[in-house]
Amino acid sequence: MNQTGAGLMLRRFLAFMARYVSPAGFAAGTALLITFIALFTPPYIGMADNGDFFRVLYSNGLYFHLPDYDSQYLGYFIKEFGILQYYNENVAIYYSSQSLLIQLALALNKLFVSTVIFDVRVQSAILTLLFIVAIYLLVESLTWKMKPLYGYIIAVLAVFMFADTAYTAFFNSFFSESIVLIMVILTFASGLLLYRRRYNDYAMVAVLAISGLLLTTSKQQNAPVGIILAATCLFLLLIRKEKKFKVIMFSTLSLLFFSGIATYALIPKEFVNINQYHAMTRGILLGSDDPERALEKMGVNKQYAILKNSIYYEPFTTVDVNSHILEKYFYSQYGFGEILGYYVSHPKQAISMLDLAAKNAFTIRPPAMGNYEKEEGKSFGQQTMFFSGYSLLKKALAPKTFGFIVIWIAVVTGVYMPSFVTAIQRRDFRNALRFPFIFSMILMGLSGIFVSIIGAGDADLSKHEFLFTVTFDLVTFVVISDAIRRRLWQRDSRLDSEPE
């Protein structure tokens, strides 16, 4: 077959495809199929408990009903949990939007599955539906009104990157990363759809507000996300002139801002202790040439230098992280501000910590957490290879230095800045929207890294940096997609959005 013939066939095939399914529909359908196979057909893929489930579970009226649950920590995914049948005294342990999801899943579980045993796949089904919607909106925001060939390439890329089981395995777990993934995609997609004026503005603002709120309150370390999103929303105030829109936008902005503050303020104490412990032992003390001096500067007994490099999760430790001595003489002497101040005054150490953070910033699937059930007969902690091409490729190929992240930010900013400046000069604020949203994603990712280091040193970095992982992938995906559809640094981006 000659080249022209192949091209003709491809064009006919694409025209046929386009008649029945849009690139966004194609991406959503394919992602649904892959996720369904991974999570809902044997062998079921999920995430093993690393000890964090306890708080979420008990505060939501669930409990570990397997007698050998302890022996499966980190090793095996468990899909069934007991539903407490009596008064639950742990209700106030955990504040998170994740609880809303679990409560919804629990209600559906009681209605359709069992009133005694909770199957985590019920929650997974809800998350899969939300995920499919998010993928649809994201791909739609980039492929709308585009040549089918480019559209389907972008759709395939979206599936390859985001339907990776390193991401979707979180659905079958009680880690809040699942909500983070979906809500970041929804937030970003709604921003891009506002920029392209694809759907009704009010509907998109509603999606933005709800997903932004759920994202901010999904995890304690996401507190800055609310503030970053609120700042980004300032641009949205300018895209329409109606007073009603401005009032709604201002309310959204305020809601996101205060949700960020509230998320920080409502952090349960135990969490603060573990992270505060790591912030010192795996942060300031870790890279310090003179830990005794660093401690004395903060008004802490220099003998605490002996805790340098220690991790709370080690099976045996000198001191209980919640002990009176640490509460009274250690944690009380420093907080977020003091640690930040220390890093500012010790830039060399801060840079080495950032490099350390970058080493884990490109690993989507946290190491040492098994994906299979024990019944499958797989070895302890074995992880799945099913549809994991992107996560494996990323882990193997990404340059793991903070310098690379800086270059990546510089390139992305450089690429989108010209069209942003032009739009601002023309006072065309809608067309100026794309860059603020992309930059807010970058800032959210960076906040993930900074909060991880300041809040908990290098402990659990690959899990703490999940927010960076997602935003890096989203921004990179948008850059590649814009390159494919030739919308990168064109000064005139008006072609992108519908006229007012």
């Binding site: 302890d70 890279g287 003998q303 080690e314």
Partner: protein, 523 residues
């Protein structure tokens, strides 16, 4: 200075002399016989009642007498198990009278060994052996317990039971202590009774005099001879505690003539840090001030199972670090559940023949067992707050039923220290020196023994109190090994030169280009 040195030598000599005389009554090594096995059966843990915790209490008390305890709920008793035991204790916490396990009832009826029942209606074999009646009251009553010259009024007891000894048949029955309703004219009833190998006590609760009284009953029932010793123990001592205050406490207690035990938290890493040396220096100071060192168990943060042998390795490292520095640990301070866990026993407690068993705070089992590990010495730990009401009644306490460690958290400031020292002085209690008894700690590198002075690998340790000031200078971050540094520095200079040259050339070309441009287009 000369006077100080002479005093130190004199004190060491004096210590060696008193040690060799072996003034203490307890010699742990003498008790290293095959431990007696006791089956401890309970009907209920009685949570949420005043009896809550009495099973655990009894486990610790039995450990202090060197008994190997097999703990079992009556429901799980299987036929024939009793045949393996010569000692049986029944705890009847439940008010209900019911047959829980028929095979147990049958085996019990045929049991001929030593039997102690705590609470409940007399079981059939006891009825045969003890000519007593037990009267149960329906209402709550305040009762007065008295034992060995001590007395305490106990808050309302539900279904209090009183023992009436049958006068005719009860000639051979031995009574221990008294238990009577308050404001009652009736004659004092016994706290417990024993006839040959059968004994019964109706009341046993944590935190009141029945706790101490039971120690006397157990001593008689088990046939243990000799008095126990009383020790003073400090816990919650960390490497980052106020080490100056620790030294001051040691000095003050030394001056007051009070020997003590310090249960110190182990350091599991960073043995070469200055902070570690300061910690060991403080422990050495304690040792020189009549203090004995025992190692507290490390904190267990998680119970995931991929940690086999880490515990042993970490503890050995700490013990060896102490040994290298001349600090001699003599035992381990552990919560009771450690002695019921195979992994902790094998990897954590195996170095020690002496322990101090604290009440359980947070149980974190790895490999739970219902059979306890026995030790040559297992001090029974009590808090002075709990026993304060009756401890203060006696000026001299000679007939201590078992080895007891009066356990207090180490004071946080000078005021607390002063209060604690005066409290101890006010008690009129005589504390024994832990290191005068034989205790042994063995690692691959060290054999540490007390009894005849503190010995490490057979060599006596001089308890020198000359303090060493530990320097803070230490290289915490190892510098990476650098290869070809000279070559790279030359390479750097070459590159800098090339870059500067390129910039210069670029500048010249830029100027030339601009002039050409101006000449061509701007005329």
């Amino acid at each position: 200075m000369k006077f100080k040195a002479a005093a130190a030598i004199l004190l060491s000599l004096l210590y060696w002399l008193t040690s060799s005389l072996n003034l203490t009554g307890v010699d742990a090594s003498n008790e290293q016989l095959t431990p007696q096995k006791v089956l401890l059966l309970y009907d209920s843990m009685a949570n949420d009642t005043s009896k809550a915790g009495n099973v655990e209490l009894l486990q610790r008390q039995l450990a202090s007498f060197g008994m190997e305890v097999t703990l079992l709920a009556e429901d799980f008793y299987s036929k024939g198990l009793l045949d393996q035991f010569n000692w049986l204790i029944l705890i009847k916490n439940s008010a209900e009278i019911r047959t829980i396990n028929e095979s147990f009832e049958r085996d019990l009826a045929a049991f001929e060994g030593h039997l102690l029942q705590i609470g409940g209606v007399l079981s059939p074999p006891l009825k045969k052996k003890l000519p007593v009646d037990v009267e149960f009251t329906k209402s709550k009553q305040n009762v007065v317990i008295a034992m060995s010259g001590l007395q305490e009024e106990v808050a309302p007891v539900q279904n209090a039971a009183y023992i009436h000894v049958n006068r005719e048949a009860g000639q051979s029955v031995e009574s221990y202590g008294t238990l009577s309703p308050i404001n009652s004219d009736s004659k004092n009833m016994p706290f417990a009774v024993k006839n040959n190998n059968a004994a019964y006590a109706p009341l046993y609760e944590k935190g009141n005099l029945s706790e101490l009284a039971m120690l006397y009953v157990l001593k008689e029932w088990l046939g243990t001879t000799g008095d126990g010793q009383l020790y003073l123990l400090f816990k919650e001592i960390y490497p980052f505690s106020d080490l100056d205050l620790l030294a001051k406490a040691a000095d003050e207690l030394y001056e007051a003539g009070i020997p003590f035990i310090a249960s110190v938290r182990p350091v599991l890493d960073n043995f070469d840090y200055p902070a570690m040396f300061r910690y060991m220096e403080a422990l050495k100071h304690i040792q020189s001030r009549n203090g004995s060192i025992v190692i507290n168990t490390p904190v267990i943060s998680s119970t995931t199972r991929d940690t086999t042998e880490i515990l042993g390795y970490k503890l050995t490292s700490f013990i060896n670090a102490l040994g290298d520095y001349g600090v001699v640990p003599l035992g381990m301070g552990a919560e009771l559940y450690w002695s019921y866990d195979k992994e902790y026993v094998n990897n954590g407690m195996a170095f020690f023949d002496s322990v101090i068993l604290f009440p359980n705070q947070l149980i974190m089992h790895r490999s739970q067992s219902n059979v306890s590990q026995t030790f040559a010495s297992a001090l029974y730990s009590v808090s002075p707050e709990e026993w304060n009401t009756f401890l203060s009644q006696r000026k001299v306490w000679a007939d201590i039923p078992t080895d007891i460690a009066l356990t207090v958290d180490f004071p946080e400031n000078e005021q607390e220290l002063e209060d604690m020292v005066s409290f101890i002085n006010d008690q009129w209690l005589v504390f024994s020196d832990y290191k005068l008894a034989r205790h042994e700690v063995i690692t691959e590198r060290f054999t540490m023994v007390s009894g005849n002075g503190l010995m490490i690998n057979g060599k006596g340790q001089i308890l020198n109190d000359t303090e060493r000031i530990v320097d803070s200078d230490f290289q915490y971050v190892e510098e990476d090994e650098v290869s070809f540094s000279k070559l790279f520095s030359i390479q750097n200079r070459i590159f800098i030169f090339i870059i500067c040259l390129a910039l210069l050339l670029f500048g010249i070309l830029f100027v030339l280009g601009y002039r050409l441009y101006k000449r061509k287009y701007l005329k």
